[in-house]
Symmetry: C3
Subunit: 179 residues, 3 copies
């Protein structure tokens, strides 16, 4: 009796693995159009290990959620990175120098190495700086959905900033809500 | 068959121009009260060019969405700035010195000019610093709606921080969701 | 005719006081299961005064919203701190040194005292730095809800960062939305 929201596993290129998939939608009238009632959809995306620095991940995210987004006329897409030594932010989607310069800034502003004042050093000199950078940029983003697409500006893209020297796969929980 | 949500163009003072307006609400029972079912509303607000620095924009935002907010008993208001060289943040709404001091801080922390280490300099010395500041403060805010109003603290206000020397109009996508 | 959402005052330990409680849910079909339609719930939590620094508040938040979360299969939990001299962030939930080091970082990066360049000093030398730190980390968080729980990573926790020397009670508006 549930209207269908196609937020199931999609065929994706190798580096992105889908970990889980949850299809949810409120059942009101089974005869109602899928687009007419509020819908919820949620999935966990696993991003492959990326080297320390800032990375544009809009294409990877869109490959995962694009088909589902098309079912939303108006809503919000929420991204939540389940880690404390990386971050999500929105910034320039064109010139890779912007990403390199942002990494340069983060490394200048957060001390690292023998002279750094950190107590928390068990996992190496890059550990505590990674935690700080994670809170500076944050681990969560909310983006409007309009007419089936993420309604970002022309030059905006979604970045994953990896703050560890030895990166691991990173999980992002994506939640879509709208009509 | 849709219940009406008044999220249409409003009569506003000169500096704020409405670019588009999308009225959406889930149609369930056309006889139901507008306030009883989940509602979505979304519009794009264009803010006029503002000089480099931090600006209190709560009045401008409220002028645009206030009448619509009154239809929500409980919900969330989401603001999304469609730019990568400005930012949205919530901070003190009273003493303008707080905004001036915040601009002073941002300029101290992000190097600018000949000695700055940036590669991305095509658009001028303030370009790369603007991108960094945008990720520091972020381009998105979510604020609770309670009984028809933004449920901020007494001293909180919405700031637009313009990080470019030659500012342009800035677009903010506002999405309201609630009951 | 409203289905019930148990977002009422809970029995909590002394330091956390519930200030208000708003129970809301869209009435569609009174015979429908509570879990099948979109639900909204909102309350204001008052956290006790905490000393300057970063504090793990996940247990306090969960004590307030845990029973209500269990009614949501999929959704979003939004936390909004109603203050401009403290912040909310998500970071490491285990080693308290991470919280101490983060406080060390904030104090290094934001000048305080006679040599600081601030105009806004009426409330003391820690006042303007507190405002800046609040915008650096932000006052709002959105966390996915999955199967009745906050879907954070293994090592993630919710932090309240108190930036004033003479702390006061802090209010957090929590809004739950989902199905």
């Amino acid at each position: 009796m549930q209207t269908s929201v196609s937020f199931l596993s999609l065929s994706v290129s190798a580096p992105v693995r889908i970990k889980c998939s949850l299809v949810t939608t409120p059942s009101t009238d089974p005869n109602s159009m899928a687009a007419s009632g509020p819908k919820w959809a949620q999935k966990t995306i696993t991003l492959p290990p990326l080297r320390r620095g800032c990375h544009l991940i809009t294409p990877k995210i869109m490959k995962e959620i694009g088909p589902d987004l098309s079912g939303f006329k108006c809503g919000l897409a929420h991204l939540f990175l389940q880690h404390t030594s990386a971050s999500l932010t929105i910034n320039e989607n064109y010139d890779s120098d912007v990403r390199a310069d942002t990494e340069t800034f983060l490394n200048r502003i957060v001390p690292e190495g023998p002279s750094a004042p950190w107590r928390h050093t068990l996992e190496g000199p890059d550990d505590m700086p990674a935690h700080i950078k994670s809170s500076m940029f944050g681990c969560t983003l909310t983006i409007p959905i309009t007419n089936g697409n993420l309604n970002m500006g022309t030059w905006q893209g979604i970045w994953l900033c990896e703050h560890r020297d030895d990166p691991t796969a990173r999980k992002v929980v994506v939640t879509l809500n709208g009509i």
